[in-house]
């Protein structure tokens, strides 16, 4: 099985969420995502103008979705790394300072568990840390 797995995305995006992302890019320029955890609006993918949120040296770079870099905190990654994140969008209100809130929608992080072959591939390819666009 493992030989069939050549590339596994840690994070992907739905076409609906990508459409919102394009709308936000047109308004704000290049963006980035940082996966949040904790209270109230937590466990949501926060979307900011690139450069507005300071990516730390220990933040984990999960990849790009529709050309936009996606990061998660190092400690949170330890508990999330066995799942693929699917960034979707739902009607709703508010998620911290994330850019989509005024549109009446909110990015939502859905998840699925990687199978063994995918996990083996991922374990062999640890993700980079720190800001990737500098």
């Amino acid at each position: 099985m493992a030989s069939h797995v050549t590339d596994v995305a840690r994070v992907v995006i739905t076409p609906e969420a990508e459409a919102v992302l394009r709308q936000l890019e047109a308004q704000h320029g290049p963006l980035l995502f940082h996966q949040s955890g904790g209270c109230c609006d937590g466990s949501a993918a926060m979307c900011y103008p690139r450069g507005d949120f300071r990516i730390g040296q220990r933040d984990v770079y999960l990849g790009e979705i529709a050309g936009t870099p996606f990061y998660i905190g190092a400690q949170q990654f330890e508990y999330w790394q066995h799942t693929q994140l699917l960034i979707d969008v739902v009607p709703g209100r508010g998620s911290g300072f994330s850019l989509e809130a005024p549109l009446g929608v909110r990015f939502l992080t859905r998840s699925r568990v990687f199978d063994e072959a995918e996990q083996a591939w991922l374990d062999a390819c640890p993700p980079p840390r720190g800001p990737q666009d500098e």
Partner: protein
Amino acid sequence: MSTVATKAPLAPLPKLAAGFTPAIPIRSRYDNWIGGQHVAPVRGNYFSNPTPITGQPLCDVARSTHEDVEKALDAAHAAAKSWNVTSPAHRAVILNTIADRIEANLDTLAFIETIDNGKPIRETTHADMPLAVDHFRYFAGALRAQEGTISEIDHDTIAYHFHEPLGVVGQIIPWNFPLLMAVWKLAPALAAGNCVVIKPAEQTPVSIMAFMELVADILPPGVVNVVQGFGVEAGKPLASSPRIAKIAFTGETTTGRLIMQYASENLIPVTLELGGKSPNVFFADVVEADDDFFDKALEGFAMFALNQGEVCTCPSRALVQDAIYDRFMERAVARTKQIVEGNPLDAKTMIGAQASNDQLEKILSYLDIGKKEGAKVLTGGERRIHPGELKDGYYVQPTIFEGHNRMRIFQEEIFGPVLSVTRFKDFDDALAIANDTLYGLGAGVWSRDANTCYRMGRGIKAGRVWTNCYHAYPAHAAFGGYKQSGIGRETHKMMLDHYQQTKNLLVSYSPKKLGFF
């Protein structure tokens, strides 16, 4: 109070609200509250605010921008000139008068909060509002009892330490206990002599406006200002303003980091309350007798459903000792199944609506990943569709998962009525599981053995360990997080320190020079 919003027509309330006649009506439109009056947003934009009870629009609310934040800061700085130097006795009287006013209008505020947030009216009536009253009274008293210090450096040299207000502070409020969380931040800030600009959560903008109308004749204009709107448009300009002396935030980790980042640019202090994944630990001896204590422990287990689980300290991980697991869980699941779901305005209802559609969706996404990871559903596990007018409201069944602590439902704050249960062998195992989390806000320990309680309570890395109780929030006990759960404390008189500067006057009473020059 002859203002724009109070002239706005009444909001369309759910039919189920017929029979309630709040002393302060819910209006169909709300502006900002700046300088003691309703002020329309500069750009004239509003957003629609639904009630989670039915999912239908309730009212329009000011969609503010940085211009409105500046206006609020203007009003706050103007008021600060006199408010910063009022006497403690004067401020304490004002806080007590506010408390009396809330108490006299408790049913109205409880009703408004339930309509706006979706939580059961029995909680707003018996928890949110009485606690809000008590917090104002507590800080009125704490302020009167606070003293500076004097140090005798030597016979002729004295160090005086005075408490001084920071000036004007910013506060960003969450949506889970909208008015109570505002009061947690407001009461100490006002007691300490600060003026405040508040940004409520956009999900729950109404109760704070009713509160401001209610106390408009008590608080001098500009001492408290409310700027409504979205985080990115109104919260960000407030948090990043060089005109605030401190920012307090309750929310989640990424926004917490962003707020610290903004604060670092202005070199101002922050306090953060960022949530948790609180363990609730049940040792074998809880089942030794089928008595009041066991009954209380079972209630403690079911506390995960309080406020629909939308509590930063939700006891969302239950750790049950192996030896009693089956016996205990049989009773605990049965207790959970007795939770009365339904119309939040019904006094019998124990679990109402989630606060927003996106919150509902997030909870459902966790029910999904919980099942995908192989956790076993012991009860619940689905959205609840109530019939009639509630059908489009945001309801979730009280849910218990059985699984292990590395599952994501054990590691993430779902902020819904979702409990993840696992078992432990012994004390060390329980402590290891309890502490295997990014967070450290709350915890619960249940045992009839005082030594077990004490050692577990000291061992858990969390700011509040409820011991043979849960979800009590007295003003006179410190609340706050270890680890990624935040910085600083709320409630308790130590909170005054978070809103005060220390002024040291170092005074020499000696006429003699040092002799260096």
